[in-house]
């Protein structure tokens, strides 16, 4: 089964992202929301990319913009909240890392 990982905290502040990365499988997807957007600039983000090169990664565009987090679209796909709702139904379950 597949899991949608909803990452809400920053790895600069908390340990949740490390656990998320340890748990994530290649068929899962990661969505960075709230302070989770800061992880796009954390070294662990590269660790994740190296471990799972083809994994789907999204971030809520508004949440990143609110925090002045600039990301290459090749790193993570910007989405709106409506798409997070759709993603919820595309995966078997959800883990909220907060």
């Amino acid at each position: 089964m597949t899991i949608l990982h909803v990452q809400r905290t920053s790895a600069f502040d908390k340990n949740d992202f490390a656990q998320c990365i340890a748990t994530i499988q290649s068929n899962d997807a990661l969505v960075l929301i709230d302070d989770g957007c800061y992880n796009l600039t954390h070294s662990m983000f590269n660790t994740l990319k190296n471990q799972h090169p083809d994994i789907k990664i999204f971030h809520i565009d508004d949440h990143a913009q609110a925090r002045a987090v600039k990301i290459e679209n090749s790193q993570s796909q910007p989405i709106a909240m409506a798409q997070l709702v759709e993603l919820t139904f595309e995966y078997d379950s959800t883990i909220t890392w907060q």
Partner: protein, 121 residues
């Protein structure tokens, strides 16, 4: 009785000295008492909840760790601990429960992936 074939996972990420860990256990017990298939996962700081020789009553916290031994009456048989989380913290696999399954990260993740509903506290 509810008819649901969903498997529920309660992912515990809080240390013992944290009320979230008691409320996570309460949630697990209620799923169990409604006869929902429920598993407990301990990861990160959560693994501390399993360690023996703790005495939270010294700091006036109700010893809810004792309650974990009653999980069998709630048909909660699968209790998993993340090996890497234990190692990272320099902790030995010495638990106050005897049916804890210690899994490496990949197996821990695979076990978690068997569940349709995952709540993390």
């Amino acid at each position: 009785m509810l008819t649901s074939s969903k498997k529920i996972a309660i992912l515990n990420a809080s240390s013992t000295i944290n009320e979230a860990s008691k409320e996570a256990l309460d949630a697990a017990l209620i799923y169990g008492s409604y006869e929902q298939t429920t598993s407990l996962f301990f990861q990160g700081e959560g693994v501390r909840q399993l360690l023996n020789n703790q005495n939270v009553e010294i700091v006036s916290i109700k010893d809810y760790l004792k309650t974990m031994a009653a999980l069998e009456f709630y048909d909660i048989e699968n209790i998993y601990a993340c090996k890497a989380s234990l190692a990272e913290r320099g902790l030995k696999e010495e638990f106050h429960l005897d049916n804890v399954q210690v899994l490496n990260s990949d197996d821990f993740s695979k076990a978690l992936h068997q569940h349709q509903v995952i709540l993390r506290f």
